[in-house]
């Protein structure tokens, strides 16, 4: 890939179209040492974490109700499908009208992430093995223990897979949101600035940063999966 990149960069011969890889990596490296780097990445991370927490609460709350109550589920499904199939950009444009620049990405993150968590929690609850619940009732395990020791462990794998897809989509949506809403600090803001000034190497450098962080999220999820559902491995 690097070779193709290098060849293409030489072919175009212009940093405004495609800077060579070594220059881009140098720019990326320079970013890490930039005094605002932590503030920028930190702001985007905090936005995504807040968005994730909200979507987690909303997703689990609605997901649990829908898992228990089929009627509510029937009502919720089309709503979720609508949210999921609405282009992110349309949501952002609306959010720009309604919210302050800093909270637009948070709102977008929440809206893109919560349907994944919600559907997975619902599916998880509905897939709980009736026979195991019955067994626990026969042995008079009590409501609290049945929830804690039968339902929750059965749902956790679903929550993890929901979280994994949610974060994958959410992370990209947050940066898109930042590009358009231009909060003071944010990876998306900086990407947009770089693009305006035709600093292509900086655009790619910030992309690399975003990819690295996304990759780290994925790693954390895989790690917690191994921790939380050790019985599967």
């Amino acid at each position: 890939m690097l070779v193709i990149w290098k060849i293409l960069a030489m072919h175009f011969g212009s940093d405004f179209v495609l800077p060579p890889p070594e220059k881009t990596f140098f720019t990326t490296f320079k970013l890490f040492t930039d005094s605002h780097f932590l503030a920028i990445v930190g702001s985007t991370l905090i936005r995504s974490i807040i968005g994730f927490i909200f979507s987690g609460i909303l997703g689990m709350g609605l997901g649990i109700i829908a898992g228990i109550n089929p009627l509510f589920n029937a009502f919720l499904r089309p709503v979720l499908v609508t949210i999921r199939s609405t282009p992110v950009i349309a949501l952002i444009l609306l959010a720009l009208i309604w919210f302050t620049p800093g909270s637009v990405p948070v709102f977008i993150a929440m809206l893109t992430m919560f349907p994944f968590i919600c559907t997975n929690v619902t599916d998880g609850i509905r897939s709980v093995d009736r026979e195991l619940v019955e067994m626990a009732q026969f042995y008079r395990a009590g409501r609290k223990r049945i929830i804690r020791e039968v339902y929750i462990p059965a749902i956790i794998p679903f929550i993890i897979s929901g979280t994994s897809s949610a974060i994958g989509f959410g992370w990209r949506a947050i940066i898109t949101g930042e590009v358009l809403s231009q909060p003071e600090y944010g990876i998306g803001t900086l990407m947009q600035n770089a693009q305006t000034f035709l600093n292509v190497d900086a655009v790619i450098a910030w992309t690399i940063v975003a990819v690295i962080i996304g990759y780290m999220f994925e790693k954390v999820i895989r790690w917690s999966e191994h921790k939380l559902i050790a019985w599967r491995f």
Partner: protein, 237 residues
């Protein structure tokens, strides 16, 4: 010994009447086997005894306040709990951890699963899982064990093995056991008395005591072969 007794039982599902003025008793401290064709209402009777479904009418004597454990056709183990965790699951949480560990260890030893305490069910064979289910049923401080086709679908070697394990634990414990099956050979090997059920609505076709020590029964013994013939004649096969 007191009897566990059911009198004048009525139960129907929609149009099908399973029990019509049906009565039966189970001697306490014995393994009573209910043998009958599929769908005759054996499982329903277990569920009535276990207080899971209500009879339309009828009297149950001697079951009041009795604690019941179950062995199902599937082991029904919690996949996220180890062998030890699955057995501990049925123990009273108020017991001190030491005591729980002791009970669990004792029964793991009896079902010969030492060394597998920390295995998850997914890592065990079918026979081993069913042994965990047996250990769980005995570890639970119950008065009665209800078994619904616990050996169905297992190969003959495993069956004999589990019957042996079960018999040994039962000998040292002598709990009342009600064991439901449609398999004549199983009933002969794992019971003190066999009650043969007809198709629904249920009649008792015959009641046969198996006068033979429970452990080391051989299906080839003349006595069991004769008994088997009687049972088969009653079942009408």
């Amino acid at each position: 010994m007191m009897n566990l007794e059911i009198k004048g039982l009525y139960k129907s599902f929609e149009d099908i009447s399973l029990f019509r003025n049906f009565s039966i008793n189970f001697p306490e401290g014995e393994i009573t086997c209910i043998l009958g064709p599929s769908g005759c209402g054996k499982t329903t009777l277990l569920n009535i005894i276990g207080n899971i479904i209500r009879p339309d009418s009828g009297i149950l004597n001697g079951f009041d306040g009795k604690v019941i454990s179950y062995i199902f056709q599937d082991p029904r183990l919690l996949p996220w709990k180890t062998v030890r965790g699955n057995i501990e699951f049925v123990l009273n949480k108020n017991l001190p951890a030491e005591k729980r560990k002791e009970i669990t260890g004792h029964f793991i030893k009896l079902v010969e699963l030492e060394g597998f305490e920390d295995f998850y069910p997914g890592k065990l064979s079918g026979g081993m899982r069913q042994r965990v289910a047996i250990a769980r049923a005995f570890a639970y401080p119950s008065d009665i064990i209800l078994m619904d086709e616990p050996l169905k679908g297992l190969d003959i070697k495993l069956k004999l093995n589990l019957i042996q394990t079960f018999s040994q634990i039962w000998q040292s414990d002598r709990r009342s056991v009600i064991f439901v099956t449609h398999d004549v050979d199983e009933s002969l090997l794992l019971s003190n008395e066999i009650v043969v059920f007809s198709r629904a609505p249920v009649n008792i076709l015959t009641r046969q005591k198996v006068e033979m020590p429970l452990t080391n029964r051989s299906p080839d013994s003349e006595y069991l072969k004769r008994l088997k013939q009687i049972l088969l004649n009653n079942l009408g096969t």
